[in-house]
């Protein structure tokens, strides 16, 4: 990865060579200090705070298990579904979680192909978040089929009924899109983990046999040989190339669940790009929420610097504005189509019984990210945390608006109704957060939360010419402080 020539090596500290960009890893850390900083959290005694957080997450998980068990026992009647709103919280939550799952692969695959080096600080935890979010997402369509024991009918498996999935249905495309996405994300994440697991393995004291064996097993005999690195980087590049189209395709396919139907408010060609933009938006919102907490709790401010957060805020601003543009385009097209049903669907969204949900969505998704036009605000950690929470809320409401408001006024006015979720609906949603945070806390405790090998590759010391050429203007070792923020200059 770091085959950069001498001229390019300056890019690590000086961006394109013309602008004075701050370094990606602050605090003038050495390789060893970076390893220590990250690996320590998997090695030390489990802190009480972790147990506290884990207990709360586990309560959520129990709520999920109980509400799902109650659902299985009684059937989907325990949810607020009825005619005409046949899709409620389950589908809203599915699209919400699968959308969140998009940031990880975008950060790790697309930004990797575009050589965005700042991704290295957050890609590991973003990918973990992706996998856990997709697990939560897969849960909802599974339980909403009602007869969950027949869920294998959605897979093309030979069976005595000679039944085959309906390949014309977007719901089936969903099964394939999301399960492929899950598999590729998991493999991608694991391949990236291998060198770091080997690092942890090698740091394990000989007395801890079990830890050594488990880490050794998953590190696949990695010993840092040149051949290992070459194969690894090739595999990583190929997986990134494979995962890149998936980032775009998965949420496009999810949007087909709606767009392929003929319900006004769903039957829209803008859905695929609009859903993808929304997915990346919500994903970055969730990454931001998690990272702001994690970097504070785990003292990662030098690796996940304020510059990283600012770059993520710019993506949130960009995608939020794209989503807002899509909302407005939908209104324009409704007017331009001349179809009274289409027009009614959208006017009803903004002024009908669910106007409160619509305006929640509008303000959270379109309005709040606009504050990131101001550099001061997008570098303010507390402020960005608040906005990221609003983004999470707003994107959940976007799916609520799409699913519920489109259905509650269907073609038959006598069937019109107001959908209200039941307690089980709400508890299942809360429980899915419990599942998500349980998995994420396990990840934080047992795996390196930052891609060590990759962060080291973007540090100035990784340049082969770093330690040579004093005074000839090629090396950078003599002038590490050049790239540091003004306040730090001259200290080293």
């Amino acid at each position: 990865m770091s085959t950069a020539s001498t001229g390019k090596s300056l890019a690590f500290t000086a961006g394109d060579g013309y602008h004075d960009d701050p370094p990606l890893v602050a605090g003038n850390l050495s390789f060893h200090e970076v390893t220590d900083l990250v690996a320590l959290h998997t090695e030390k005694k489990t802190p009480m705070a972790w147990y506290g957080a884990f207990s709360i997450a586990n309560i959520g998980l129990m709520i999920l298990l109980l509400s799902v068990a109650y659902l299985f026992w009684n059937g989907v009647g325990v949810w607020g579904l009825n005619n005409p709103v046949g899709w409620g919280y389950a589908i809203v939550n599915f699209v919400f979680w699968v959308g969140i799952g998009h940031a990880g692969t975008l950060i790790s695959a697309i930004l990797y192909l575009f050589r965005q080096k700042w991704r290295t600080a957050i890609n590991r935890s973003a990918e973990a978040m992706t996998i856990f979010a997709v697990i939560c997402a897969l849960l909802f369509p599974t339980i909403h089929v009602g007869r969950v024991w027949a869920i294998y009918w959605s897979l093309p498996i030979p069976n005595q009924m000679e039944m085959w999935p309906q390949f014309k249905s977007p719901l089936l495309w969903d099964v394939f899109a999301v399960s492929v996405y899950f598999t590729v994300s998991l493999v991608f994440w694991y391949v990236g983990l291998v060198p770091d697991l080997a690092t942890l393995r090698d740091r394990t004291p000989l007395t801890k046999k079990l830890r050594q064996k488990v880490l050794g097993f998953f590190a696949l005999g990695w010993n840092g040989a040149n051949r290992h690195w070459r194969n690894y980087e090739k595999a990583y590049l190929l997986l990134a190339a494979l995962a890149t189209p998936l980032v775009l395709s998965v949420h496009s396919v999810v949007s087909f669940d709606f767009a392929v139907s003929i319900i006004p408010g769903w039957h829209t060609t803008i859905f695929p790009p609009y859903f993808v933009a929304g997915a990346i938006f919500s994903g970055f919102g969730m990454v931001m929420t998690l990272m702001v907490i994690a970097r504070k709790v785990y003292h990662m401010e030098n690796i996940i610097t304020i510059n990283h957060l600012e770059k993520m805020n710019i993506i949130i601003l960009l995608t939020g504005t794209m989503v807002g543009f899509a909302y407005i385009t939908e209104f324009f097209i409704a007017w331009y189509s001349g179809s009274p049903y289409e027009q009614y669907a959208f006017i009803n969204r903004a002024t009908g019984p669910y106007a409160w949900a619509y305006w929640t969505m509008m303000s959270c998704n379109l309005l709040f990210p606009q504050f990131f036009w101001f550099k001061k605000l997008r570098r303010n950690v507390a402020f960005m945390f608040v906005v990221s929470i609003f983004v999470n809320i707003g994107m959940w409401f976007e799916r609520f608006v799409i699913v519920v408001t489109s259905l509650h006024r269907d073609y038959l006015p006598s069937a019109w109704d107001y959908y209200t979720p039941t307690a089980i609906d709400v508890l299942t949603l809360i429980g899915s957060f419990g599942l998500f945070f349980t998995l994420f806390l396990i990840f934080l405790r047992f795996l390196p939360m930052v891609a060590l090998a990759e962060v080291k590759m973007v540090m100035p010391q990784s340049d082969p010419h770093f330690y040579e050429g004093h005074g000839d203007g090629h090396g950078a070792a003599h002038d590490l402080s050049a790239g540091k923020p003004e306040s730090d200059r001259g200290k080293s």
Binding site: I157, P158, N159, Q160, E162, M163, D202, K213, L220, G221
Partner: protein, 215 residues
């Protein structure tokens, strides 16, 4: 640093890869074959309360199926005959037979004989005898050579896939209506053309959509 794993651990990745592949294929095959009615249900031959022989009555004596199972042409459900049907003959024939004791008891006490049903379908699958019998599906197509069975036994899986094989290609199975109860019927050489013609004229369109049978 000493080695964590012995050298023979190198074979583990190969084994797990091959194991996962074959394990997956094996699991699917296992469920597909051993969980199917073809394996679990065929050959079901419960003991009946009366040692009634279909081989004797339907085979050697040649009594038509519909003499006893007389609803098949008009009802969804094909009936098991009441004791009265047995007694039509057995008030005259073999009136002292020990084997017929339960029948005479039933006749005397008005308590029906507790015959055990052999051909069971799930509650969520609806089967209509009248539709099948009147459109040329022979008794033996589903029930087998009853005339050769001492005690009735299930010979076909009665699974959904098995139903669909005929529903998708009825021309391979149909016979003229006057041959429906024939046992050991042999199709003539041109039976596919004959059936295609009949299907066209009579619009025989067996459903292959879900609600055709699950309603």
């Amino acid at each position: 640093m000493p080695q964590i794993f012995p050298k023979k651990a190198n074979i583990l990745p190969h084994i797990s890869l091959i194991g996962a592949l074959f394990g997956g294929v094996f699991t699917i095959f296992f469920v597909w074959y051993y969980f199917s009615p073809e394996y679990t249900d065929v050959g079901y031959e419960p003991e009946q309360p009366v040692p009634y022989s279909h081989r004797l009555h339907a085979g050697q004596l040649g009594i038509d199926c519909q003499y006893c199972h007389n609803w098949v042409e008009v009802a969804d459900h094909s009936n098991v005959p009441p004791t009265q049907t047995c007694m039509n003959c057995h008030t005259q024939i073999r009136t002292e037979s020990l084997k017929l004791l339960p029948v005479r008891e039933s006749w005397a006490t008005d308590a029906p004989i507790p015959w055990v049903k052999v051909h069971n379908l799930p509650d969520y699958a609806n089967f209509t005898h009248t539709m099948h019998v009147n459109n040329g599906v022979g008794c033996e197509t589903c029930h087998g050579r009853i005339d050769e069975m001492e005690v009735v036994r299930q010979v076909e899986p009665l699974s959904m896939g098995w139903c669909l094989e005929c529903h998708r290609q009825p021309e391979l199975y149909l016979r003229p209506n006057d041959q429906v109860t024939t046992m050991g019927y042999v199709q003539p050489a041109d039976f596919v053309e004959r059936n295609m013609e009949r299907i066209r004229i009579e619009h025989i369109e067996p459903p292959t959509y879900c609600s055709g049978c699950h309603y």
